[in-house]
């Protein structure tokens, strides 16, 4: 720079201008040379004329400028009126409706009732496929509820998919119920020889069952037939919604006068069963959500609103999962959420559930633990067989805390 400065300072304006012109022409020549080299190389390498096609092809691909036609000359609605034959059902479908039809037809789309079909198929086969679990999780994932996938690796039973399926088709808040009934399904597995049918069919129609099935069902369930829905109550023998008289009447009605004696709840009641019946509580609540006003009777559990009860049992199962050893802990914990104020059902449940599983069950449990002791005791007293002494359960729970 120093030398340039020295040399330039001695120049006057005209020379500067001349210099500028020189520089300019140098630059332009340089550019031209550059271009020449490029072109020459292209020629020698053979790619110079590649972007030119012959005249015929140029005419073929000329831009079309007619109305009603795009620049390639194609008509816009050309394929709309065409019909395709569905490979699945062999019907002729309009092209624009073909994709949605295929979704439904193959049972692969989101609203394609593939679960319903699978349920029907599995009820015919009584098969347990691992894919059905995965698909359930697909359903679960479809409904933006990812917790269900966590449970997947654990206990796969023949009940799980069926239960899940059942409640998806029943309720709008299907994803929550998925969760719940995956738990209750595992729990009730040990109880019933025919759990799938038990949960699936009886809730719908007692007419479809044979006398043997009815009998076995009536020994475990309340069974009172709802006037609104003509369905059997799937709650436990001690369900607060119906009296013993009603249960007796139903048994007489269904099985004949000889079967009027209510079976002892003792035989069926075990630790697992309790949780199973809790699940049935939820199931029946499900039904009742749709039907009208059955006013809760005066049990401790029904004193809480349906919502909190539901939520409580929901968290029950979650905490059961997290504890995973002591089913009774779930009972003791079931009262924890009674003290919660009203919150929107869906979201809070998920957050509560997640909290519980995340170990926050300790926090929420200990908060409501003491207040819910009475309700717990009330609950447990209603069972003939004490569900294990209630006091030890909270203490175990405290230890966990």
């Amino acid at each position: 720079m120093k030398m340039e400065d020295m040399s330039l300072s001695g120049l006057d304006n005209t020379k500067l201008e001349a210099l500028a012109q020189d520089i300019y022409s140098d630059l332009v020549e340089d550019a031209c040379l550059g271009l020449c080299f490029e072109v020459h190389r292209a020629v020698k390498q053979g790619y110079f004329f590649l972007d030119d096609t012959d005249q015929e092809s140029m005419k073929d691909f000329e831009i079309v400028d007619q109305p009603g036609v795009d620049i390639f000359g194609q008509v816009y609605n050309q394929w709309k009126n065409k019909e395709c034959v569905c490979p699945n059902c062999n019907r002729s479908i309009a092209a624009s409706r073909f994709a949605p039809h295929l979704e439904k037809c193959l049972g692969m789309g989101r609203n394609s009732s593939r679960i319903a079909n699978r349920r029907i198929a599995s009820s015919n086969n009584m098969n347990n496929k691992s894919e059905s679990d995965q698909e359930d999780n697909d359903d679960v994932n479809d409904n933006d509820w990812s917790y269900g996938s966590e449970k997947k690796g654990e206990n796969k039973t023949s009940v799980n998919p069926c239960l899940n399926v059942f409640f998806v088709t029943l309720a709008e808040q299907a994803h929550l119920y998925h969760m719940l009934f995956s738990f209750s399904g595992e729990l009730s597995n040990s109880v019933n020889a025919d759990p799938y049918k038990y949960n699936y069919n009886t809730g719908i129609n007692y007419e479809t069952l044979g006398p043997d099935e009815l009998r076995s069902l009536l020994t475990t369930q309340c069974g009172v037939i709802s006037e609104h829905t003509k369905k059997m109550c799937t709650r436990s023998q001690r369900c607060p919604q119906h009296t013993d008289e009603q249960r007796r009447a139903v048994r007489v009605f269904l099985l004949g006068p000889s079967a009027s004696s209510l079976p002892d709840a003792d035989t069926m009641v075990e630790s697992d069963c309790y949780d199973a019946s809790d699940g049935q509580v939820l199931m029946s609540r499900l039904q009742w959500d749709g039907s009208s006003d059955i006013s809760p009777s005066d049990s401790a559990s029904s004193k809480a609103s349906k919502r909190t009860e539901f939520r409580s049992t929901f968290c029950t199962f979650i905490q059961w999962r997290s504890v995973s050893s002591h089913p009774l802990l779930s009972i003791s914990l079931s009262g924890t959420n009674n003290s919660d104020s009203k919150k929107p059902k869906k979201k809070k449940k998920t957050s509560l559930g997640l909290n519980s599983t995340g170990g926050g069950g300790g926090g929420s449990g200990s908060g409501g633990g003491s207040s819910s002791q009475t309700s717990l005791v009330g609950l447990s007293n209603r069972k003939k067989k004490p569900k294990l002494p209630v006091p030890p359960a909270p203490s175990i729970y405290d230890n966990l805390n």
Partner: protein, 89 residues
Amino acid sequence: FYWHCVQQHARFIERFGLKELLRAKLTECGWRDQLKAHCKDVIKEKGLEHVTVEDLVVEITPKGRVLVPDSVKKELLQRIRAFLAQHAT
């Protein structure tokens, strides 16, 4: 002295990116494509196999010089003068 200046302004040009600037401007204004079309004519005339660099240079450079649009020329001259003025002190 003159060569000295030439060397120096070559250095100028490199340092200040005038070359790149010019090339960009010429491409942008279509000068390059015009010249390329002219090249094609020359090549077709001379025959694809036998065209040499010199042929092209001889044919193209003068045309290229002429084809540079005025706006580009003016701007470039301005910049050159500015750079020279910067370094003249």
